[in-house]
């Protein structure tokens, strides 16, 4: 990836227009987070989505963007090892100063990264639904926007060492992540795993005896409509990412759009078939998770795979999604209400791997493997220990009374649906 190359005016206008649509992915994920949680925490969950986006965008624009290095500044923090430069951290201006006079390519890069960080921070929030407080959520957003995402964005997109594996070590085009499969989705899914590990399961989820308690989402309509909204946002992310990071020609965009929707469709069809064969009827929330897993996988492969490849990648993601949900819940005692770990982390890793498989360039698969290794070997421990430290100052989990009465009443003083009867939770008997 070569982020420094200039971009023609027409492509600039197109990419900017696409980025105006990218927040629809944020809206879709926010709706999914709300719908998959309980009714008594719905307002708190949606407010949390907004608050986390606000905190993340402000802090990234003011501080994090300097480390991400989207805007031109210093040469960056470069370590020379084995005779090769390893660009570890950007050295752009603080407070996004000089944005209007920066090259068009850099302006687009910053805008893309702002939309990306807004999407990233929602992923762990959905996994901590019904038990994680608003302040803790804002703290997580701050940590991700200032300390984690800028490093990942610089390494993958803005001239960092991962994106330069092609130039420095002849590994294809370097680590390929044009739609943010790694930098948004795998990172967000790993953050979700850290939150689930630290906050623990919802009260009553895993009783001492017997199977885990089913806690279905409260509004399948929100979830499914969120999936449709997310499709528009994903098309925007994938197409804009290809224009900005890969300098894809206009003629490549229709295939990118087609791959995106094919991957999601194949994944949904596969999840539909799997859940119908296992449970006798298709499961709405799992099919929604399958759709999202297909979209996440498309973020990695839309620029490199042919349509038949996108179908295959989506189908595998769709088959794996319901099986992963069962594995996490029944075998690994992981309570992930939004399914972000399977949908975003695992499907993202699968997409990154598939991008290496489908790329015709020699060494691309190795570059993708190294990128996956960085996500698991560097970013997961980093996020976990940062969140663990944050948990000491801003405890993630609300007290048990708050959890029992619902986070709407506990944190906001009123429910999302005041004219409806909220049913007692059977798991507290």
């Amino acid at each position: 990836m070569n982020p420094a190359a200039p971009i023609p005016d027409t492509l600039f206008a197109l990419a900017l227009g696409l980025l105006f649509l990218a927040p629809l992915a944020v809206a879709g994920v926010a709706l999914i987070n709300v719908g998959l949680g309980r009714s008594r925490s719905a307002a708190q969950t949606l407010l949390g989505n907004l608050a986390m986006v606000a905190v993340a965008v402000i802090l990234f624009a003011l501080v994090g963007s300097a480390f991400a290095g989207a805007l031109p500044g210093g040469a960056g923090h470069i370590l020379t090892l084995g005779g090769k430069p390893w660009n570890l951290l950007g050295a752009g201006p603080l407070l996004a100063s000089g944005l209007s006079s920066a090259p068009l390519q850099s302006q687009l890069a910053l805008f893309f990264e702002v939309a990306a960080v807004a999407l990233l921070v929602l992923l762990p929030w959905g996994s901590g639904a019904d038990r994680v407080g608003l302040l803790a959520g804002c703290g997580m957003a701050a940590v991700l926007a200032v300390l984690v995402f800028p490093v990942a964005a610089h390494w993958s997109w803005s001239g960092g060492w991962l994106g330069s594996l092609g130039a420095n070590f002849s590994l294809g085009e370097g680590f390929l992540d044009p739609g943010g499969a790694a930098t948004i989705h795998v990172l967000g899914g790993l953050a979700a795993l850290a939150v689930v590990w630290i906050a623990g399961p919802r009260r009553g989820k895993f009783p001492k005896e017997g199977f885990s308690t089913a806690m279905p989402g409260h509004n399948a309509v929100y979830v499914l409509f969120g999936c449709l909204l997310a499709l528009v946002g994903w098309q925007a992310f994938n197409a804009a990412g290809a224009l900005i990071w890969l300098h894809a020609p206009l003629s490549a965009l229709p295939q990118i759009a087609l791959d995106t929707v094919l991957s999601a469709s194949a994944a949904t069809a596969a999840t539909f078939a799997v859940t119908r064969s296992r449970f006798g009827k298709p499961d709405a929330s799992l099919c929604a998770n399958g759709w999202m897993a297909g979209l996440v996988a498309s973020s990695a492969i839309a620029s490199v795979a042919p349509p038949i490849g996108a179908l295959f990648v989506g189908m595998v993601a769709g088959i794996a999604t319901p099986l992963l949900v069962e594995l996490f819940e029944l075998a690994l005692s992981i309570d992930d209400p939004s399914g972000a770990i399977g949908v975003h982390a695992i499907a993202g890793i699968w997409g990154l791997l598939a991008a290496g498989i489908f790329s015709p360039r020699p060494g691309q698969l190795l570059a993708q493997l190294i990128g996956i290794g960085v996500l698991l070997g560097f970013f997961l421990p980093l996020i976990y220990f940062l969140f663990l430290a944050l948990n000491r100052f801003l405890p993630f989990r609300v007290d048990s009374d708050g959890e029992r009465m619902g986070l709407d009443l506990h944190e906001l003083g009123g429910g999302a649906y005041p004219e409806f009867v909220i049913h007692r939770d059977e798991s507290y008997r």
């Binding site: 090892l81 084995g82 090769k84 594996l165 070590f169 590990w197 623990g200 399961p201 919802r202 009260r203 009553g204 989820k205 895993f206 009783p207 001492k208 690994l332 005692s333 992981i334 020699p362 060494g363 190795l366 493997l369 190294i370 996956i372 290794g373 960085v374 698991l376 070997g377 560097f378 997961l380 421990p381 976990y384 220990f385």
Partner: protein, 60 residues
């Protein structure tokens, strides 16, 4: 146990990165990178196991 698993994971990453610097032969590089990823998977497995043990001790 969870911390130990999470600390093993960067060790696998260092092995994968060392392969880039030490080898130019694609086969050797790939072998080392795959070994590094296997160590990361081992560390993740230990961390997950640690989570399961902790859950068994503190049922909510």
């Amino acid at each position: 146990m969870k911390y130990a698993g999470l600390l093993v994971m960067p060790a696998g990453l260092f092995l994968a990165l060392a392969a880039l610097v030490l080898f130019t032969d694609p086969v050797q590089r790939t072998a080392f990178v795959v070994c590094g990823l296997a160590i990361e998977a081992l560390g993740l497995g230990v961390a997950v196991r640690g989570h399961l043990l902790a859950r068994g001790e503190h049922h909510l």
